[in-house]
């Protein structure tokens, strides 16, 4: 089974981050939510492995609760 990559994996993280922001520019919160949903589905299909997606979901969920605890 492939695992979720948890180490830096993008040669130019800044550029990818900027691309994501650019895609959302000028969008209402609602439009952005829809864009994010489409993006998640497109990426999920590209990943193609339910276990990896589950690991990603877990990581995303945990990060939020850790944040909240810090507050």
């Amino acid at each position: 089974m492939t695992h979720l990559i948890q180490t830096p994996n993008l040669p130019d993280a800044d550029a990818v981050y900027a691309d994501v922001l650019a895609a959302h520019e000028g969008q209402t919160l609602e439009e952005s939510a829809a864009l994010n949903a489409r993006l998640i589905l497109i990426l999920a299909n590209h990943i193609g492995e339910a276990d990896v997606i589950r690991e990603a979901l877990e990581m995303a969920k945990k990060s939020v609760s850790a944040d909240n605890r810090a507050k």
């Binding site: 949903a37 489409r38 589905l41």
Partner: protein, 529 residues
């Protein structure tokens, strides 16, 4: 002509049991002559097990009920002797269209896999299924099979004892008593038997109403399934259009939770809605109109001593995916041979616990699938709405997103993984779809079809090997056609399959000794190893 559903199909007739001084005894009593009770009665009658069916009315079910019957159901119906009648009356279709708002998102063609006798599914009014089953039951009875169906016999109070169940039955002539070794409750979603026994039935109510209308149309609408998300004629909700025999169409309109039921049922309002849906030039008549809410729930256990539950009495699903009657018939398929084996005395009672294990597993699978469909069709939170719409937006231009579109996943038979009746898979390289616990896929033989040849007894299927002598089991050694190879051999060069009376795989090996076959057979009959 009277409508098929308006006939008194099994009118009340006084029976000598009602005048007996002591309660008459019946080995197996089935409560409810719905599709499940009738199918089980026929299966038992074909096995020569004395069976009595009691129903509180004398007619087939009316109103809008099941219309979509899947292949496995048709295969079971074949074994019960009514399959061909259903298929010849039913409507077959392959093309489905999905719409979102004003536009078509995509269409799909459900071309079935080759080499099966039966189509992937048919559309047929539930009452035609019930009429066929009642006809078959009566034919068996006329041939001398020990089966009876009594109309207007309402079972009112079951009292369970260690070695029998005592029943009180209410008829137009008053009450009478019966004793039965086994009581099978096939008395529908509101199961009075379940309620009287105080058994729970927990699950989830979907806070939504659906207007279901069956309409007759003269128009030449194509034989396709059309599903709308958020159509202009039903904004924010879903809609479904599906063809049945006799020029009848099923219309299914989601209404939402807070509605005025009475206003929605007003024929004028319904006609108006349907006219908007079908377009101004289509003439139609309303046959049935009703409003449903749906639940997804099951009993914790399907066996309570000498009382067993099957069909809607045991589990209830939303109709998306057509899993109600389809799974109920598989309950009957699973229970029939087991009950026969116990009643005849050859098998231990705990064979019936495997019914609970296997069919509860199936119920969970069906609940999972129908809950997922319902969540997609009627998103319950803002964000699930966002994802649903994201899928529909993407699906229009991108094939990858289409598998996410869930307007119902058609009922598939369950593979009983982990059942104690299975012998560990002993055939390396063979296809997973025929592993122990799986339903046998049909295959074309040189002459006819595999499932017809298997029938309803334990059976050996020997491929490129000789079945061991002296197992006492019938066997089949068909030519190795492409279907047989891809479904039963895979990369194995030979195979011996032990197949259960319900046509599920019990064990498989490259070849086997008499002892190995006998051990697997004993295990599949519920004997401890």
């Amino acid at each position: 002509m009277t409508s098929p559903f308006a006939q008194d199909l099994y009118p009340y007739k006084r029976h000598p049991d009602q005048d007996a001084s002591r309660a008459a005894h019946h080995p197996v009593t089935i409560v409810g002559a719905g599709p499940v009770g009738l199918a089980l009665a026929i299966d038992l009658a074909q096995r020569n097990i004395p069976t009595l069916v009691l129903d509180d009315n004398s007619r087939v079910s009316t109103g809008s009920r099941a219309i979509c019957f899947a292949k496995r159901t048709l295969e079971i119906a074949d074994r019960l002797g009514v399959g061909e009648a259903l298929v010849s009356k039913g409507v077959q279709w392959n093309l489905g269209k999905v719409f979102s708002g004003e536009r078509k998102v995509y269409e799909f063609n459900l071309a079935p896999e080759d080499g099966h006798k039966n189509p992937a599914f048919i559309n047929l009014q539930q009452y035609y299924l019930e009429i066929a089953l009642v006809g078959r039951l009566r034919a068996l009875q006329a041939e001398g099979a020990p089966v009876d169906l009594r109309g207007e016999n309402r079972v009112s109070t079951p009292v369970a004892h260690a070695d029998h169940v005592a029943l009180t039955v209410e008829t137009p002539d008053g009450f009478y008593s019966l004793k039965t070794d086994w009581l099978i409750a096939c008395d529908g979603a509101n199961s009075p038997i379940r309620n009287r026994m105080g058994l729970n039935f927990k699950g989830r109510v979907f806070e939504d109403n659906f207007l279901i209308a069956d309409v007759t149309m003269q128009a030449d609408f194509p034989t396709e399934r059309w599903f709308w998300f958020d159509p202009p004629f039903n904004p924010g909700q879903s809609a479904l259009l599906h063809k049945q025999p006799d020029g009848v169409w099923r219309i299914d309109l989601q209404l939402g939770w807070d509605i005025d039921r009475e206003a929605e049922m007003d024929p004028e309002r319904v006609r108006d809605r349907v006219a908007q849906m079908l377009g101004p030039d289509v003439a139609f008549d309303l046959e049935w109109v009703s409003i449903y809410t749906f639940q997804c729930r099951r009993m914790e256990r399907l066996r309570h001593g000498r009382v067993l539950f099957a069909g809607d009495a045991a589990h209830q699903v939303s109709p998306f995916g057509a899993r109600g009657a389809n799974s109920g018939l598989q309950d009957a398929d699973n229970l029939g041979w087991k009950l026969a084996a116990v009643v005849e005395g050859g098998a231990p009672e705990n064979l019936l616990d495997s019914y609970d294990f296997e069919r509860a597993q199936a119920a969970d699978e069906n609940l999972l699938n129908s809950t997922r469909s319902t969540d997609f069709i009627t998103p319950k939170s803002q964000i699930s709405h966002v994802f649903r719409d994201a899928v529909l937006d993407l699906a229009k231009n991108h094939a990858f997103a289409r598998p996410f579109v869930n307007s119902g996943r058609l009922s598939q038979p369950t593979t009983y993984d982990g059942s104690c009746l299975n012998t560990v898979d002993g055939l390396p390289g063979a296809p997973p779809r025929t592993r122990p616990g799986a339903p046998c896929p049909d295959a074309r033989l040189e002459d006819g079809y595999l499932l017809d040849a298997l029938g309803h007894r334990f059976f050996l299927l020997a491929l490129n090997c000789d079945p061991p002598a002296a197992t006492g089991l019938p066997h089949l050694s068909p030519q190795i056609t492409d279907d047989i190879r891809s479904r039963y051999l895979g990369s194995a060069s030979s195979a011996l399959y032990l197949i259960r009376p319900d046509q599920h795989v019990a064990a498989r090996w490259p070849s086997a000794t008499v002892q190995a076959v006998k051990n697997a057979l004993s295990c599949a009959k519920g004997h401890p190893p």
